[in-house]
Symmetry: C2
Subunit: 578 residues, 2 copies
């Protein structure tokens, strides 16, 4: 009686489901720590989460066999509608059922298979309503003022015009490929021009997460950095509204997928209406959240959290896009509300959204890895995949290079061709692209899009992301070699060679090291406490990836009054040994 | 296509639902702030949340009329089982439905009514799986070491023996009342002895939340405080396991609700098994979470959070009680893991769980207020309600007084009779009682229990809680009178009467105030900066209600070096005016 839910629906599986993901996240966290600890940075943490997800997907797919329970029953009923709530009268007792969704045609019998795989499948709406909002809010909240607003024109150009250009270029390229596939006979179902445009919209959203992580390493100009980050944050919003406008252009019951001027205008109207509505709502609630609760950080933080969340819900209830509203709410709150908060609440809100963002992000990426094997309607079409990669490449190029050229005509701080290449390849696809493509996988076209999108995300995160990460690697190797061997040999600074060379070279090392080198080194050990603290501080900032590091003035290191280096400390062990 | 979910299930209502609760929480937060700001403390914040919930419940019940949408369809099908997943074949298309639960017999047609009220109704499992865990974990996490473990014997006695005694006393008393009601003809359905015991178990859980809040005001002995708080935390765990053991004693299909020795033994076995299993699991994961991630607070906090959550899930998956496991996990983590965390992570985890606890707690209490009007199967039986209040009183008395007497035989620090009375009346019923009673409201007996429990919670939180809160009120009035009028009149300390008396009494005041009083007062104004800081510090601690304030050594106030009071400051405006 108490556990009716458990008895009828199999609690074990429900919890197994969540436990698998918690295990994945825990593994990811531990590995990230290991990587950071050893300063091994070939791969970004989201790439790591994906790999673990992949592994678990393989295990679930091929390793685990769950005996089939016969709990699924197919009813054939003479009902005309598909109601949200169904009351089923089973031998005199009423049971209430809620609609989960339509099962794709002809797959009725397949639903019973692979129970375990289905259990690790989340409702796509979970991504939109639970996981994306904190990620997008955090991106907006960490978008710092000065450099963002100084470059607002360029950012908006890339985000709006660039995304629209990219969407249409990709759509047209895909249309060519799809037409070719139809001729060759490689297409297994319908694929209309609107589907191509829709695909263009969903893969045009670049990911702010990896941009933030990678550009902490490469010390680029702060303005250019703001440009890239601002673009990647805003184009998520553009892509989401663009894709829903395209869906609005393609009426559900209508089979004429041809181009129509009126429908196009309607779509444009939807785009403008939804975007401006979401924008206005987000900014309004962001501005409204000025608080006078400075004395009570808990209340203040709670209120801040609730207001941000209600922005999302309010926007969805009004028919706008919650994610977009939350983005602008975050930007506005970072701009106005943040400064009204008490210092403790500033820390608290930052840390809270940072944690939520971290968990949601890693969850999405490990789920991405998992779906490659657990999703059961994959349509991998080699031609389509090749076409998609070409199209994404072309789309990004058509966004960056022409717009940069035009923008450079008006900018004082020109966008160099080097940086244009970086922008071209740093356009990783991430959480938003995935969420948009998994939202609807009912038709053949959508399934093919989903499978292809998955590959695009994998490729960009691993290859482009990994490439950018390891870009910094050769420099570090050189630095270490220089610091440990060349400097001690050629100057008095750095650790003495007796410490850095292996023990067998002891004699050689001793000959090559000057007495002053020991003194300087011993002195540097004295300083080590200070150094370590600073080092940790830097690490923390990198670990949290919270703010644009060039933008946010880091507290100046506390000036420690120390004796001047020339006078050697008295208790120098090396000296006495000599 | 994009918004299939919204089109079919009415997004507006889904979001309206959450928006109502966010609005409620926001209102509660603002009012709490107002109360704290004005130092008005007649009512505890949970009591406030309840009142707002009540108001919204009334509005929804009587004020809002939502036109009936005909989305509910009753199907009569020849199926024997009630499967967890249902595939419905509607004119060739398959729709997937998930089981929500059984609708009570004969209420089939009523389900369609009051759509709006049903929309604000949450699945009872939400309380157990989402809202209770953070509350209970937080209680365990804020249970500080020293005083808790010093009194562990007494705490366990109250929590285990006391709760079992209380459960049986309440059960027996209720059985007498119910038998009487049956004779009088006031009983509208079955009510067995096991139902009485179940009722005893669910109303025996006292609430740690209000205890914490109230006893910050009354400066009782720290050991006694630890006693009361420890008991209220642990008896939640005992009550939850006890109630599920009683359900296990009462087999679903069996109609013989008489007393059986074998079934009793089985129940006892279930109790021991579930309790020790949950305990072992909680402690094990708590101990395991030692971290070496000190350099990365974000990773550390995330890991900490995930481990706590996985404890809950793991326990549920193993058939133990997640809430109990989480409690012991929290206690263990406060005892061991907390000290391994970096200082920043200590703050972060504290603040995170504090926020989650705050939100969950206020959500539950406002939902409680709401259900008084929105729940549609209330059974208010005056006789049963009177009986329940008498039984709860007797049960608490049979717990506290005899056990205190026995414990005092062995204790050095005796539990005074005054404090016994406080324990007697501070046994408020809160979130756990509510969650246990709303979990199953299918039968007449359970519905009557639910309605009565609601009233008991309301009564104890408002009357007992409010009583304890305002216990400190007369003292404060006296203090103010004393400080503002008596002290200035009789001594040289305090503000001069010219400042405290109304303007019309200016002459009188001037006559009664000595010149020294001005000097002392002016000096105290100089000190005011320091005082204010300390005052705020105290408020923050009270506002967050995070730790036992006597237990946790508050930072000593920074000693400010000030000139000694006798030498009057030179720039005294009052003096010059004189």
């Amino acid at each position: 009686l108490m556990n009716t839910c458990c008895i009828t629906s199999g609690c074990y599986h429900r919890y197994a489901n969540l436990l698998i993901f918690i295990m994945l996240l825990t593994l990811t966290i531990l590995t990230i720590w290991l990587f950071k600890h050893r300063r091994f940075r070939f791969l970004h943490e989201t790439g790591l989460a994906m790999i673990y997800g992949l592994l678990v997907g393989v295990i679930l797919r091929f390793g685990v066999h769950v005996p089939q329970n016969m709990s699924n029953v197919v009813l054939s009923c003479a009902v005309n509608a598909s109601p949200a709530t169904l009351l089923v009268n089973i031998s005199g007792r009423y049971f209430e059922y809620t609609l989960k969704g339509e099962v794709s045609r002809g797959k009725g019998h397949q639903v019973q298979d692979d129970e375990m795989l289905r259990k690790v499948t989340f409702d796509p709406e979970v991504f939109f309503n639970i996981l994306l909002p904190p990620i997008i809010f955090h991106a907006g909240y960490s978008l710092k003022r000065r450099h963002f607003f100084r470059n607002i024109g360029s950012i908006l150009t890339y985000a709006f015009m660039g995304t629209v250009i990219s969407c249409f270029v990709i759509g047209l390229t895909m249309y060519c490929f799809v037409s070719f596939m139809k001729v060759v006979g490689q297409l297994g179902g319908d694929f209309y021009f609107t589907d191509c445009l829709f695909f263009g919209a969903i893969v045009s959203a670049t990911d702010p997460v990896t941009v933030l992580a990678i550009f902490n390493e490469l010390k680029v100009d702060v303005d250019l950095y703001a440009l890239l980050f601002g673009e990647s944050v805003l184009n998520d919003a553009v892509a989401i509204v663009l894709s829903s406008s395209i869906v609005a252009y393609q009426p559900a019951g209508d089979n004429s997928h041809s181009f129509e001027a009126m429908a196009m205008l309607k779509s444009f109207g939807v785009f403008l209406g939804v975007f401006s509505g979401s924008f206005a709502l987000g900014v309004a609630t962001g501005v409204m959240t000025f608080t006078k609760l400075r004395d009570f950080p808990l209340l203040e933080t709670a209120l801040f959290f609730l207001m941000s969340w209600s922005t999302f819900l309010l926007a969805e209830a009004c028919g706008f896009t919650g994610v977009v509203a939350v983005l602008f709410c975050g930007i506005t709150q970072a701009h106005y509300t943040y400064n009204n908060l008490s210092p403790e609440s500033q820390d608290r809100t930052k840390q809270l959204f940072e944690l939520l963002n971290f968990l949601a992000e890693n969850f999405i990426f490990s789920y991405m890895g998992l779906t490659l094997f657990s999703f059961q309607s994959h349509v991998f079409n080699p031609l389509f995949i090749v076409g998609a990669f070409v199209a994404v490449f072309l789309g990004r190029a058509a966004n960056i290079y022409p717009l940069s050229f035009l923008l450079n005509l008006g900018r004082k701080n020109k966008i160099g061709s080097n940086f244009q290449h970086v922008m071209m390849f740093a356009g990783l696809r991430g959480a938003m692209t995935f969420a948009l493509s998994i939202r609807d996988t009912a038709t053949y076209a959508r399934q093919m899009m989903f499978s292809t999108t998955l590959l695009i995300v994998f490729f960009t995160v691993w290859i482009c992301g990994g490439g950018c990460e390891s870009y910094a690697w050769p420099f570090r190797i050189w630095y270490n070699f220089d610091h440990n061997y060349l400097k001690p040999l050629l100057t008095h600074s750095g650790p003495p060679l007796t410490a850095t060379l292996p023990a067998c070279c002891g004699l050689l090392a001793r000959c090559l090291t000057s007495p002053q080198a020991y003194e300087v080194w011993a002195y540097s050990i004295l300083l080590k406490g200070t150094e370590l603290t600073l080092g940790e501080h830097e690490l923390v900032i990198r670990g949290t990836r919270l703010v644009l590091p060039m933008d946010d003035p880091v507290e100046p290191p506390t000036t420690v009054t120390l004796p001047p280096p020339p006078s050697p400390p008295h208790s120098d062990p090396h000296r006495h040994r000599l």
